[in-house]
Symmetry: C2
Subunit: 287 residues, 2 copies
Amino acid sequence: MTDHSSIDYFTEERSVEAVNARIGADCHDRLATVMESLVRHLHAFVKDVELTQDEWGMAIDFLTKTGQICDENRQEYILLSDVLGVSMLVDAINNRRPTGATENTVLGPFHVGGAPDYPMGTNITKDGARETCLFEGRIVDLDGNPIEGAKLDVWCDNEDGFYDVQQPDVQPPFNNRGIFTSGADGRYWFRGIRPVSYPIPDDGPVGQLLGHLGRHPFRPAHMHFIVSAPGFDTVTTHTFVDGDPYLTSDAVFGVKASLITEYEPVEDGDTKWRSHFDFVLHRQNTQ
Amino acid sequence: MTDHSSIDYFTEERSVEAVNARIGADCHDRLATVMESLVRHLHAFVKDVELTQDEWGMAIDFLTKTGQICDENRQEYILLSDVLGVSMLVDAINNRRPTGATENTVLGPFHVGGAPDYPMGTNITKDGARETCLFEGRIVDLDGNPIEGAKLDVWCDNEDGFYDVQQPDVQPPFNNRGIFTSGADGRYWFRGIRPVSYPIPDDGPVGQLLGHLGRHPFRPAHMHFIVSAPGFDTVTTHTFVDGDPYLTSDAVFGVKASLITEYEPVEDGDTKWRSHFDFVLHRQNTQ
Protein backbone atom coordinates (compact mmCIF):
# COMPACT_ATOMS: atom_id res chain seq x y z
CA MET A 1 0.00 0.00 0.00
CA THR A 2 1.14 3.55 -0.79
CA ASP A 3 2.65 5.55 2.09
CA HIS A 4 0.19 8.38 2.70
CA SER A 5 1.82 9.75 5.87
CA SER A 6 3.80 12.44 4.01
CA ILE A 7 0.78 13.83 2.15
CA ASP A 8 -0.95 16.91 3.54
CA TYR A 9 -4.55 15.81 3.70
CA PHE A 10 -7.19 18.14 5.19
CA THR A 11 -6.92 18.70 8.94
CA GLU A 12 -8.66 21.09 11.31
CA GLU A 13 -5.35 22.94 11.82
CA ARG A 14 -4.41 23.23 8.15
CA SER A 15 -7.91 23.59 6.71
CA VAL A 16 -7.26 26.93 4.98
CA GLU A 17 -4.01 25.81 3.37
CA ALA A 18 -5.58 22.54 2.20
CA VAL A 19 -8.41 24.35 0.41
CA ASN A 20 -6.38 27.19 -1.06
CA ALA A 21 -3.63 24.87 -2.34
CA ARG A 22 -6.17 23.50 -4.84
CA ILE A 23 -6.53 26.72 -6.83
CA GLY A 24 -5.22 26.04 -10.32
CA ALA A 25 -2.44 27.92 -12.10
CA ASP A 26 -4.92 29.05 -14.75
CA CYS A 27 -7.27 30.73 -12.24
CA HIS A 28 -7.70 34.47 -12.81
CA ASP A 29 -5.41 36.32 -10.33
CA ARG A 30 -8.14 38.46 -8.82
CA LEU A 31 -10.52 35.50 -8.36
CA ALA A 32 -7.71 33.59 -6.63
CA THR A 33 -7.03 36.55 -4.31
CA VAL A 34 -10.70 36.97 -3.42
CA MET A 35 -11.36 33.25 -2.88
CA GLU A 36 -8.20 32.69 -0.81
CA SER A 37 -9.23 35.52 1.49
CA LEU A 38 -12.84 34.30 1.64
CA VAL A 39 -11.75 30.79 2.64
CA ARG A 40 -9.34 32.18 5.26
CA HIS A 41 -11.98 34.37 6.90
CA LEU A 42 -14.81 31.83 6.56
CA HIS A 43 -12.74 29.09 8.24
CA ALA A 44 -11.62 31.54 10.95
CA PHE A 45 -15.29 32.26 11.68
CA VAL A 46 -16.19 28.55 11.91
CA LYS A 47 -13.23 27.91 14.23
CA ASP A 48 -13.91 31.00 16.33
CA VAL A 49 -17.42 29.96 17.25
CA GLU A 50 -16.82 26.19 16.92
CA LEU A 51 -19.94 25.95 14.78
CA THR A 52 -21.99 22.85 15.63
CA GLN A 53 -23.40 20.44 13.05
CA ASP A 54 -26.93 21.65 13.85
CA GLU A 55 -25.95 25.30 13.43
CA TRP A 56 -24.29 24.45 10.12
CA GLY A 57 -27.57 22.83 9.05
CA MET A 58 -29.51 25.94 10.05
CA ALA A 59 -27.08 28.10 8.05
CA ILE A 60 -27.50 25.90 4.95
CA ASP A 61 -31.27 26.15 5.35
CA PHE A 62 -31.19 29.94 5.83
CA LEU A 63 -28.95 30.53 2.79
CA THR A 64 -31.14 28.26 0.65
CA LYS A 65 -34.38 30.00 1.65
CA THR A 66 -32.79 33.43 1.13
CA GLY A 67 -32.05 32.46 -2.49
CA GLN A 68 -35.41 30.85 -3.07
CA ILE A 69 -37.49 33.89 -2.07
CA CYS A 70 -35.68 36.02 -4.69
CA ASP A 71 -37.49 36.87 -7.94
CA GLU A 72 -37.39 39.74 -10.40
CA ASN A 73 -39.03 42.06 -7.84
CA ARG A 74 -37.38 40.82 -4.65
CA GLN A 75 -33.68 40.52 -3.89
CA GLU A 76 -33.34 39.01 -0.41
CA TYR A 77 -29.53 38.59 -0.71
CA ILE A 78 -29.13 42.35 -1.17
CA LEU A 79 -31.28 42.79 1.95
CA LEU A 80 -29.02 40.35 3.82
CA SER A 81 -25.94 42.26 2.67
CA ASP A 82 -27.65 45.50 3.75
CA VAL A 83 -28.61 44.42 7.28
CA LEU A 84 -25.14 42.95 7.92
CA GLY A 85 -23.54 46.29 6.96
CA VAL A 86 -21.77 44.72 3.97
CA SER A 87 -23.47 46.92 1.36
CA MET A 88 -22.45 50.10 3.22
CA LEU A 89 -18.92 48.77 3.72
CA VAL A 90 -18.49 48.04 0.00
CA ASP A 91 -19.93 51.49 -0.75
CA ALA A 92 -17.52 53.14 1.69
CA ILE A 93 -14.45 51.33 0.34
CA ASN A 94 -15.28 52.23 -3.25
CA ASN A 95 -16.19 55.87 -2.62
CA ARG A 96 -13.49 57.37 -0.43
CA ARG A 97 -13.45 61.15 -1.01
CA PRO A 98 -11.63 64.17 0.38
CA THR A 99 -13.16 66.02 3.35
CA GLY A 100 -15.80 68.45 2.21
CA ALA A 101 -17.02 66.35 -0.75
CA THR A 102 -20.57 65.00 -0.37
CA GLU A 103 -20.51 61.45 1.03
CA ASN A 104 -22.03 58.42 -0.66
CA THR A 105 -24.56 56.05 0.79
CA VAL A 106 -26.21 52.89 -0.57
CA LEU A 107 -28.11 52.97 -3.88
CA GLY A 108 -30.88 50.72 -2.53
CA PRO A 109 -33.03 48.40 -4.65
CA PHE A 110 -35.62 50.95 -5.83
CA HIS A 111 -33.74 53.07 -8.35
CA VAL A 112 -35.30 53.00 -11.84
CA GLY A 113 -33.60 54.23 -14.99
CA GLY A 114 -35.35 56.50 -17.48
CA ALA A 115 -37.20 58.80 -15.09
CA PRO A 116 -38.64 61.94 -16.78
CA ASP A 117 -36.45 65.04 -17.33
CA TYR A 118 -38.19 67.97 -15.66
CA PRO A 119 -37.59 71.73 -15.57
CA MET A 120 -36.55 73.11 -12.17
CA GLY A 121 -39.47 73.65 -9.80
CA THR A 122 -41.53 70.63 -10.99
CA ASN A 123 -43.46 68.66 -8.36
CA ILE A 124 -42.45 64.98 -8.70
CA THR A 125 -45.30 63.73 -6.49
CA LYS A 126 -48.09 62.46 -8.76
CA ASP A 127 -50.41 60.82 -6.21
CA GLY A 128 -51.18 63.91 -4.16
CA ALA A 129 -49.59 64.96 -0.92
CA ARG A 130 -50.79 66.30 2.37
CA GLU A 131 -47.93 68.80 2.46
CA THR A 132 -45.50 69.81 -0.28
CA CYS A 133 -41.78 70.21 0.36
CA LEU A 134 -39.35 72.36 -1.62
CA PHE A 135 -35.95 70.74 -2.16
CA GLU A 136 -33.27 73.22 -3.13
CA GLY A 137 -29.54 73.95 -3.04
CA ARG A 138 -26.46 74.12 -5.22
CA ILE A 139 -24.11 71.71 -6.96
CA VAL A 140 -20.56 72.96 -6.55
CA ASP A 141 -16.96 71.75 -6.72
CA LEU A 142 -14.64 71.53 -3.72
CA ASP A 143 -13.71 75.23 -4.19
CA GLY A 144 -17.37 76.29 -4.13
CA ASN A 145 -17.61 76.99 -7.89
CA PRO A 146 -21.06 76.20 -9.37
CA ILE A 147 -21.24 73.18 -11.70
CA GLU A 148 -23.31 73.71 -14.84
CA GLY A 149 -24.97 70.72 -16.52
CA ALA A 150 -25.01 68.53 -13.41
CA LYS A 151 -27.79 65.93 -13.44
CA LEU A 152 -29.83 65.16 -10.29
CA ASP A 153 -31.66 61.85 -10.48
CA VAL A 154 -34.02 61.91 -7.46
CA TRP A 155 -36.51 59.40 -6.00
CA CYS A 156 -38.32 58.65 -2.75
CA ASP A 157 -41.24 56.71 -1.27
CA ASN A 158 -44.80 58.06 -1.12
CA GLU A 159 -46.63 59.13 2.03
CA ASP A 160 -47.56 55.50 2.74
CA GLY A 161 -43.87 54.47 2.71
CA PHE A 162 -43.85 52.64 -0.64
CA TYR A 163 -41.92 53.32 -3.85
CA ASP A 164 -43.93 53.37 -7.09
CA VAL A 165 -42.34 50.09 -8.25
CA GLN A 166 -43.61 48.36 -5.09
CA GLN A 167 -47.18 49.40 -5.92
CA PRO A 168 -47.49 49.34 -9.72
CA ASP A 169 -51.30 49.01 -9.48
CA VAL A 170 -51.68 51.84 -6.97
CA GLN A 171 -49.16 54.57 -7.80
CA PRO A 172 -48.77 56.38 -11.15
CA PRO A 173 -45.57 55.46 -13.08
CA PHE A 174 -42.52 57.47 -12.01
CA ASN A 175 -44.34 58.77 -8.94
CA ASN A 176 -41.81 60.65 -6.80
CA ARG A 177 -39.06 60.38 -9.43
CA GLY A 178 -37.44 62.87 -11.80
CA ILE A 179 -34.24 64.14 -13.36
CA PHE A 180 -33.15 67.79 -13.14
CA THR A 181 -30.20 69.53 -14.83
CA SER A 182 -28.39 72.52 -13.30
CA GLY A 183 -27.79 75.80 -15.13
CA ALA A 184 -24.76 78.13 -14.96
CA ASP A 185 -25.48 79.08 -11.33
CA GLY A 186 -25.33 75.40 -10.24
CA ARG A 187 -28.69 75.76 -8.47
CA TYR A 188 -31.44 73.14 -8.26
CA TRP A 189 -34.98 73.26 -6.92
CA PHE A 190 -37.94 70.91 -7.17
CA ARG A 191 -41.02 69.97 -5.16
CA GLY A 192 -42.23 66.70 -3.70
CA ILE A 193 -43.26 65.25 -0.34
CA ARG A 194 -41.33 65.10 2.88
CA PRO A 195 -40.24 61.41 2.66
CA VAL A 196 -41.42 59.04 5.41
CA SER A 197 -39.65 56.20 7.22
CA TYR A 198 -40.57 52.65 6.15
CA PRO A 199 -39.66 49.01 6.91
CA ILE A 200 -37.53 47.01 4.48
CA PRO A 201 -39.42 43.85 3.37
CA ASP A 202 -39.43 41.78 6.56
CA ASP A 203 -41.67 38.81 5.71
CA GLY A 204 -38.74 36.62 4.55
CA PRO A 205 -35.62 34.99 6.04
CA VAL A 206 -33.86 38.35 6.55
CA GLY A 207 -36.83 39.77 8.43
CA GLN A 208 -36.87 36.68 10.63
CA LEU A 209 -33.16 37.08 11.31
CA LEU A 210 -33.67 40.72 12.29
CA GLY A 211 -36.44 39.60 14.66
CA HIS A 212 -34.18 36.99 16.31
CA LEU A 213 -31.43 39.62 16.67
CA GLY A 214 -33.84 42.01 18.41
CA ARG A 215 -33.58 44.53 15.57
CA HIS A 216 -36.37 46.45 13.80
CA PRO A 217 -36.60 46.64 9.97
CA PHE A 218 -37.10 50.43 9.62
CA ARG A 219 -35.18 52.94 7.56
CA PRO A 220 -35.30 56.63 8.52
CA ALA A 221 -37.03 58.91 6.00
CA HIS A 222 -34.76 59.93 3.12
CA MET A 223 -34.68 61.41 -0.39
CA HIS A 224 -32.44 59.55 -2.87
CA PHE A 225 -30.05 61.43 -5.17
CA ILE A 226 -27.60 60.44 -7.88
CA VAL A 227 -25.67 63.59 -8.75
CA SER A 228 -23.42 63.40 -11.81
CA ALA A 229 -21.50 65.90 -13.91
CA PRO A 230 -18.86 65.45 -16.61
CA GLY A 231 -15.38 65.36 -15.06
CA PHE A 232 -16.64 64.69 -11.51
CA ASP A 233 -17.11 61.57 -9.35
CA THR A 234 -20.78 60.60 -9.36
CA VAL A 235 -22.35 60.85 -5.91
CA THR A 236 -25.02 58.26 -5.01
CA THR A 237 -26.55 59.32 -1.74
CA HIS A 238 -29.60 60.21 0.34
CA THR A 239 -30.53 63.23 2.39
CA PHE A 240 -32.11 62.21 5.70
CA VAL A 241 -34.87 64.02 7.56
CA ASP A 242 -33.52 65.44 10.82
CA GLY A 243 -35.55 64.30 13.83
CA ASP A 244 -36.56 60.94 12.34
CA PRO A 245 -36.77 58.37 15.17
CA TYR A 246 -34.78 55.77 13.16
CA LEU A 247 -31.73 57.94 12.33
CA THR A 248 -29.53 56.13 14.86
CA SER A 249 -30.87 52.66 14.04
CA ASP A 250 -31.28 52.55 10.24
CA ALA A 251 -31.76 48.84 9.43
CA VAL A 252 -29.21 49.12 6.58
CA PHE A 253 -26.70 51.50 8.31
CA GLY A 254 -27.05 54.12 5.54
CA VAL A 255 -27.00 57.25 7.74
CA LYS A 256 -24.00 59.60 7.83
CA ALA A 257 -24.09 62.73 9.99
CA SER A 258 -23.25 64.95 6.98
CA LEU A 259 -26.35 63.76 5.12
CA ILE A 260 -28.91 64.69 7.78
CA THR A 261 -30.89 67.70 6.63
CA GLU A 262 -33.15 70.12 8.40
CA TYR A 263 -36.69 70.33 7.03
CA GLU A 264 -37.82 73.88 7.86
CA PRO A 265 -41.50 74.79 8.01
CA VAL A 266 -42.38 77.52 5.47
CA GLU A 267 -45.59 79.23 4.35
CA ASP A 268 -45.69 79.43 0.54
CA GLY A 269 -49.08 78.28 -0.78
CA ASP A 270 -49.17 74.46 -0.70
CA THR A 271 -45.48 74.36 0.15
CA LYS A 272 -45.14 73.76 3.88
CA TRP A 273 -41.51 72.57 4.12
CA ARG A 274 -38.15 73.49 2.73
CA SER A 275 -35.10 71.18 2.60
CA HIS A 276 -31.78 72.79 1.69
CA PHE A 277 -28.74 70.69 0.72
CA ASP A 278 -25.62 71.58 -1.28
CA PHE A 279 -23.87 68.80 -3.21
CA VAL A 280 -20.08 69.14 -3.33
CA LEU A 281 -18.55 67.06 -6.12
CA HIS A 282 -14.96 65.88 -6.31
CA ARG A 283 -13.16 66.25 -9.61
CA GLN A 284 -12.20 62.86 -11.06
CA ASN A 285 -8.53 62.02 -11.04
CA THR A 286 -7.30 62.33 -14.60
CA GLN A 287 -5.17 59.35 -15.45
CA MET B 1 -30.99 71.10 14.01
CA THR B 2 -29.81 68.27 16.26
CA ASP B 3 -26.06 67.94 16.80
CA HIS B 4 -25.16 64.61 15.18
CA SER B 5 -21.38 64.93 15.52
CA SER B 6 -21.20 62.91 18.74
CA ILE B 7 -23.21 59.97 17.36
CA ASP B 8 -21.32 56.93 16.10
CA TYR B 9 -22.82 56.43 12.65
CA PHE B 10 -21.45 53.70 10.37
CA THR B 11 -17.94 54.31 9.05
CA GLU B 12 -15.50 52.12 7.13
CA GLU B 13 -13.25 52.01 10.21
CA ARG B 14 -15.97 51.18 12.74
CA SER B 15 -18.17 49.04 10.50
CA VAL B 16 -18.07 45.94 12.73
CA GLU B 17 -18.84 47.82 15.93
CA ALA B 18 -21.69 49.74 14.24
CA VAL B 19 -23.40 46.54 13.12
CA ASN B 20 -22.82 44.48 16.26
CA ALA B 21 -23.96 47.31 18.55
CA ARG B 22 -27.48 46.80 17.18
CA ILE B 23 -27.99 43.32 18.60
CA GLY B 24 -30.82 43.54 21.10
CA ALA B 25 -30.66 42.57 24.78
CA ASP B 26 -33.27 39.86 24.18
CA CYS B 27 -31.21 38.10 21.48
CA HIS B 28 -30.30 34.48 22.35
CA ASP B 29 -26.69 34.47 23.66
CA ARG B 30 -25.41 31.87 21.21
CA LEU B 31 -27.01 33.61 18.20
CA ALA B 32 -25.40 36.89 19.31
CA THR B 33 -21.99 35.18 19.62
CA VAL B 34 -22.26 33.54 16.19
CA MET B 35 -23.52 36.66 14.41
CA GLU B 36 -20.97 38.99 16.03
CA SER B 37 -18.19 36.69 14.86
CA LEU B 38 -19.73 36.34 11.40
CA VAL B 39 -19.94 40.12 10.95
CA ARG B 40 -16.36 40.56 12.19
CA HIS B 41 -14.94 38.00 9.77
CA LEU B 42 -17.18 38.99 6.85
CA HIS B 43 -16.19 42.66 7.13
CA ALA B 44 -12.52 41.68 7.51
CA PHE B 45 -12.81 39.75 4.23
CA VAL B 46 -14.42 42.69 2.39
CA LYS B 47 -11.72 45.07 3.71
CA ASP B 48 -8.90 42.64 2.99
CA VAL B 49 -9.67 42.36 -0.71
CA GLU B 50 -11.30 45.82 -1.03
CA LEU B 51 -14.24 44.18 -2.78
CA THR B 52 -15.45 46.27 -5.74
CA GLN B 53 -19.09 47.12 -6.39
CA ASP B 54 -19.07 44.83 -9.48
CA GLU B 55 -17.61 41.93 -7.47
CA TRP B 56 -20.24 42.48 -4.78
CA GLY B 57 -22.88 42.28 -7.53
CA MET B 58 -21.39 39.02 -8.82
CA ALA B 59 -21.42 37.60 -5.28
CA ILE B 60 -25.10 38.53 -4.80
CA ASP B 61 -25.90 36.89 -8.13
CA PHE B 62 -23.92 33.72 -7.29
CA LEU B 63 -25.54 33.32 -3.85
CA THR B 64 -29.00 33.84 -5.34
CA LYS B 65 -28.50 31.26 -8.10
CA THR B 66 -27.03 28.78 -5.62
CA GLY B 67 -30.25 28.98 -3.61
CA GLN B 68 -32.52 28.87 -6.63
CA ILE B 69 -31.10 25.62 -8.06
CA CYS B 70 -31.87 23.80 -4.78
CA ASP B 71 -34.87 21.48 -4.63
CA GLU B 72 -35.79 18.34 -2.71
CA ASN B 73 -33.18 16.32 -4.65
CA ARG B 74 -30.43 18.90 -5.00
CA GLN B 75 -28.69 20.89 -2.26
CA GLU B 76 -26.24 23.26 -3.93
CA TYR B 77 -25.43 25.10 -0.66
CA ILE B 78 -24.14 21.87 0.87
CA LEU B 79 -22.00 21.43 -2.25
CA LEU B 80 -20.70 24.97 -1.82
CA SER B 81 -19.88 24.27 1.83
CA ASP B 82 -18.19 21.02 0.74
CA VAL B 83 -15.94 22.51 -1.95
CA LEU B 84 -14.87 25.38 0.33
CA GLY B 85 -13.80 22.87 3.00
CA VAL B 86 -16.43 24.17 5.44
CA SER B 87 -18.30 20.86 5.75
CA MET B 88 -15.08 19.01 6.61
CA LEU B 89 -14.05 21.73 9.05
CA VAL B 90 -17.37 21.57 10.91
CA ASP B 91 -17.07 17.76 10.90
CA ALA B 92 -13.52 17.96 12.31
CA ILE B 93 -14.43 20.43 15.06
CA ASN B 94 -17.39 18.36 16.20
CA ASN B 95 -15.66 14.98 16.09
CA ARG B 96 -12.30 15.35 17.81
CA ARG B 97 -11.22 11.92 19.08
CA PRO B 98 -8.21 10.39 20.82
CA THR B 99 -5.41 8.96 18.66
CA GLY B 100 -6.26 5.46 17.55
CA ALA B 101 -10.02 5.99 17.30
CA THR B 102 -11.41 5.84 13.75
CA GLU B 103 -11.65 9.31 12.24
CA ASN B 104 -14.84 10.90 10.90
CA THR B 105 -15.40 12.32 7.48
CA VAL B 106 -18.38 14.03 5.83
CA LEU B 107 -21.78 12.31 5.74
CA GLY B 108 -22.45 13.48 2.18
CA PRO B 109 -25.91 14.04 0.68
CA PHE B 110 -26.71 10.43 -0.32
CA HIS B 111 -27.38 8.69 2.99
CA VAL B 112 -30.86 7.17 3.21
CA GLY B 113 -32.50 5.96 6.40
CA GLY B 114 -34.26 2.61 6.59
CA ALA B 115 -31.85 0.45 4.58
CA PRO B 116 -32.46 -3.33 4.96
CA ASP B 117 -30.94 -5.27 7.88
CA TYR B 118 -28.87 -8.08 6.42
CA PRO B 119 -27.04 -11.08 7.87
CA MET B 120 -23.25 -10.97 7.60
CA GLY B 121 -21.97 -11.99 4.17
CA THR B 122 -24.88 -10.54 2.16
CA ASN B 123 -24.07 -8.90 -1.19
CA ILE B 124 -25.56 -5.39 -1.14
CA THR B 125 -25.11 -4.88 -4.90
CA LYS B 126 -28.47 -5.55 -6.59
CA ASP B 127 -27.72 -4.39 -10.14
CA GLY B 128 -24.95 -6.87 -10.92
CA ALA B 129 -21.24 -6.24 -10.73
CA ARG B 130 -18.27 -7.02 -12.90
CA GLU B 131 -16.23 -7.99 -9.84
CA THR B 132 -17.37 -8.60 -6.27
CA CYS B 133 -15.46 -7.24 -3.30
CA LEU B 134 -15.47 -8.64 0.25
CA PHE B 135 -15.51 -5.98 2.97
CA GLU B 136 -14.44 -7.30 6.35
CA GLY B 137 -12.87 -6.35 9.65
CA ARG B 138 -13.65 -5.83 13.31
CA ILE B 139 -15.38 -3.23 15.47
CA VAL B 140 -13.37 -2.77 18.64
CA ASP B 141 -12.87 -0.28 21.48
CA LEU B 142 -9.64 1.67 22.04
CA ASP B 143 -8.22 -1.29 24.02
CA GLY B 144 -8.92 -3.70 21.16
CA ASN B 145 -11.89 -5.43 22.81
CA PRO B 146 -14.59 -6.54 20.33
CA ILE B 147 -17.87 -4.60 20.44
CA GLU B 148 -21.01 -6.73 20.23
CA GLY B 149 -24.20 -5.28 18.78
CA ALA B 150 -22.47 -2.54 16.79
CA LYS B 151 -24.48 -1.44 13.74
CA LEU B 152 -22.77 -0.75 10.38
CA ASP B 153 -24.88 1.33 8.04
CA VAL B 154 -23.06 1.10 4.67
CA TRP B 155 -23.66 2.64 1.23
CA CYS B 156 -21.78 3.44 -1.98
CA ASP B 157 -22.26 4.33 -5.65
CA ASN B 158 -22.72 1.71 -8.39
CA GLU B 159 -20.18 0.87 -11.08
CA ASP B 160 -21.38 3.86 -13.16
CA GLY B 161 -20.64 6.26 -10.28
CA PHE B 162 -24.24 6.96 -9.22
CA TYR B 163 -26.08 6.30 -5.95
CA ASP B 164 -29.45 4.57 -6.18
CA VAL B 165 -31.28 7.78 -5.18
CA GLN B 166 -29.72 9.60 -8.14
CA GLN B 167 -31.15 7.00 -10.54
CA PRO B 168 -34.50 5.90 -9.10
CA ASP B 169 -35.65 4.68 -12.55
CA VAL B 170 -32.47 2.73 -13.25
CA GLN B 171 -31.26 1.16 -10.01
CA PRO B 172 -33.23 -1.13 -7.67
CA PRO B 173 -34.23 0.45 -4.33
CA PHE B 174 -31.50 0.24 -1.68
CA ASN B 175 -28.94 -0.82 -4.28
CA ASN B 176 -25.51 -0.86 -2.59
CA ARG B 177 -26.98 -0.17 0.88
CA GLY B 178 -27.44 -2.29 3.96
CA ILE B 179 -27.23 -2.50 7.75
CA PHE B 180 -25.18 -5.20 9.54
CA THR B 181 -24.94 -5.96 13.27
CA SER B 182 -21.83 -7.40 14.90
CA GLY B 183 -21.82 -10.50 17.11
CA ALA B 184 -19.76 -11.21 20.22
CA ASP B 185 -16.51 -11.39 18.22
CA GLY B 186 -17.01 -7.83 16.88
CA ARG B 187 -16.46 -9.04 13.32
CA TYR B 188 -18.26 -7.84 10.20
CA TRP B 189 -18.21 -9.03 6.60
CA PHE B 190 -20.36 -8.28 3.58
CA ARG B 191 -20.02 -8.20 -0.20
CA GLY B 192 -20.51 -5.46 -2.77
CA ILE B 193 -18.58 -3.72 -5.53
CA ARG B 194 -15.29 -1.91 -5.40
CA PRO B 195 -16.65 1.68 -5.33
CA VAL B 196 -15.68 4.01 -8.21
CA SER B 197 -14.74 7.70 -8.26
CA TYR B 198 -17.41 10.14 -9.51
CA PRO B 199 -17.96 13.88 -10.01
CA ILE B 200 -20.16 15.87 -7.63
CA PRO B 201 -23.03 17.56 -9.56
CA ASP B 202 -21.17 20.21 -11.56
CA ASP B 203 -23.81 21.67 -13.87
CA GLY B 204 -24.75 24.47 -11.42
CA PRO B 205 -23.13 27.56 -9.86
CA VAL B 206 -20.75 25.47 -7.70
CA GLY B 207 -19.53 23.51 -10.72
CA GLN B 208 -18.93 26.79 -12.56
CA LEU B 209 -16.98 28.12 -9.58
CA LEU B 210 -14.82 24.99 -9.50
CA GLY B 211 -14.16 25.48 -13.23
CA HIS B 212 -13.09 29.11 -12.74
CA LEU B 213 -10.81 28.03 -9.87
CA GLY B 214 -9.13 25.43 -12.08
CA ARG B 215 -10.46 22.58 -9.91
CA HIS B 216 -12.09 19.30 -11.00
CA PRO B 217 -15.34 18.02 -9.41
CA PHE B 218 -14.24 14.41 -8.69
CA ARG B 219 -14.34 12.46 -5.45
CA PRO B 220 -12.04 9.45 -5.02
CA ALA B 221 -13.80 6.08 -4.75
CA HIS B 222 -15.10 5.36 -1.25
CA MET B 223 -17.45 3.16 0.77
CA HIS B 224 -19.60 5.03 3.33
CA PHE B 225 -20.03 3.76 6.89
CA ILE B 226 -21.96 4.91 9.94
CA VAL B 227 -20.77 2.72 12.82
CA SER B 228 -22.71 3.02 16.06
CA ALA B 229 -22.87 1.06 19.29
CA PRO B 230 -24.50 1.80 22.65
CA GLY B 231 -22.09 3.73 24.89
CA PHE B 232 -19.74 4.75 22.06
CA ASP B 233 -19.35 7.85 19.85
CA THR B 234 -20.95 7.18 16.48
CA VAL B 235 -18.41 7.25 13.63
CA THR B 236 -19.57 8.64 10.28
CA THR B 237 -16.84 7.97 7.78
CA HIS B 238 -15.69 6.49 4.46
CA THR B 239 -13.00 4.03 3.56
CA PHE B 240 -11.12 5.14 0.43
CA VAL B 241 -9.68 2.93 -2.29
CA ASP B 242 -5.88 3.11 -2.22
CA GLY B 243 -4.44 4.08 -5.60
CA ASP B 244 -7.43 6.19 -6.68
CA PRO B 245 -6.14 9.11 -8.80
CA TYR B 246 -8.29 11.64 -6.89
CA LEU B 247 -7.12 10.78 -3.35
CA THR B 248 -4.99 13.93 -3.09
CA SER B 249 -7.53 16.19 -4.79
CA ASP B 250 -10.95 15.11 -3.43
CA ALA B 251 -13.33 17.94 -4.46
CA VAL B 252 -14.80 17.98 -0.93
CA PHE B 253 -11.55 17.39 1.07
CA GLY B 254 -12.94 14.22 2.70
CA VAL B 255 -9.76 12.10 2.57
CA LYS B 256 -7.74 11.32 5.70
CA ALA B 257 -4.65 9.12 5.48
CA SER B 258 -6.01 6.74 8.15
CA LEU B 259 -9.11 6.01 6.02
CA ILE B 260 -7.27 4.85 2.88
CA THR B 261 -7.65 1.10 2.51
CA GLU B 262 -5.86 -1.45 0.42
CA TYR B 263 -8.09 -3.48 -1.93
CA GLU B 264 -6.29 -6.80 -2.31
CA PRO B 265 -6.95 -9.07 -5.28
CA VAL B 266 -8.28 -12.49 -4.15
CA GLU B 267 -9.56 -15.61 -5.93
CA ASP B 268 -12.74 -16.83 -4.24
CA GLY B 269 -15.46 -17.59 -6.84
CA ASP B 270 -17.00 -14.27 -7.95
CA THR B 271 -15.12 -12.42 -5.22
CA LYS B 272 -12.08 -10.78 -6.79
CA TRP B 273 -11.20 -8.18 -4.13
CA ARG B 274 -10.93 -7.95 -0.38
CA SER B 275 -10.99 -4.73 1.66
CA HIS B 276 -10.05 -5.02 5.32
CA PHE B 277 -10.76 -2.20 7.79
CA ASP B 278 -11.10 -2.22 11.59
CA PHE B 279 -13.32 0.39 13.22
CA VAL B 280 -12.07 1.63 16.59
CA LEU B 281 -14.81 3.32 18.61
CA HIS B 282 -14.29 5.78 21.43
CA ARG B 283 -16.35 5.32 24.58
CA GLN B 284 -18.69 8.28 25.17
CA ASN B 285 -17.83 10.52 28.06
CA THR B 286 -20.31 9.82 30.81
CA GLN B 287 -21.58 13.07 32.24
